[in-house]
């Protein structure tokens, strides 16, 4: 049984929205003239010419930033219920949350000292 309040409209919108791309693409497929010139084969029909291959190797720094982001994203998910239920939890929970944050700040300091947060 579904008991969340306000999500019925969300589900309805979800169903309607899932029809939009299907309708848009099929309508344009029906209406457009079928013209297959060489220009239509390019990636950006009216923009920069793409150069080089798409399969290039990226720099490891991107991975470093994504890594630090993942860890602190998870931290956010843990701290959000604490913030919402703050008025019910009291001082002890505040100290416990501070311990939680302090442990992760150790990791942040480590990553900083190792240069994982620096671009150059």
């Amino acid at each position: 049984m579904f008991t969340l309040i306000g999500y019925e409209y969300f589900l309805g919108f979800l169903l309607l929205c899932s029809l939009v791309p299907v309708l848009a693409l099929s309508a344009s497929k029906l209406l457009r003239p079928s013209n297959r010139g060489p220009e239509r084969r390019t990636t950006y029909e009216s923009g920069m010419e793409p150069f080089g291959g798409a399969w290039i190797q990226f720099n490891i720094r991107y991975y470093m930033f994504a890594l630090v982001f993942v860890i602190f994203d998870v931290e956010t998910v843990f701290l959000y219920p604490w913030a919402v239920a703050f008025h019910r939890l009291g001082v002890l929970a505040f100290i416990e949350a501070l311990i939680f944050i302090a442990i992760l700040i150790v990791g942040l300091v480590y990553a900083w000292r190792k240069g994982a947060l620096e671009w150059s």
Partner: protein
């Protein structure tokens, strides 16, 4: 929808993940299959929490911890794959036979 529907869905997802885990040759795809397995477990936990334990939702709390473990596993696992790729210049699972007897 009955409880069995969600359990069947999770079982199907789990079996797809097992198949991918066994047959993939790309190491990154093996990690993706592990994520599928963890997600099927999460579906089970949330379904049990919704249908059997609606009062105090222990299953949802557990799901948050499983998501945490999955994120940590993905971070470390992908770092290991990057290290292996740097040393051996491949991500083919058939080439990772250093520990094979």
């Amino acid at each position: 929808m009955p409880l069995e529907f969600f359990l069947l869905l999770a079982a199907a997802l789990f079996c797809i993940g097992i198949y991918g885990l066994i047959t993939s040759r790309n190491a990154v795809r093996v990690l993706m299959s592990v994520e599928l397995l963890l997600n099927s477990v999460n579906i089970n936990l949330v379904a049990f929490s919704n249908f059997l334990d609606r009062q105090n939702i222990n299953g949802q709390v557990f799901t948050v911890f499983v998501i945490t473990v999955a994120a940590a596993e993905a971070a470390v696992g992908l770092a290991i794959i990057l290290a292996i790729y740097r040393n051996r210049d491949t991500v083919d699972m058939e080439q990772f036979n250093l520990l094979k007897w």
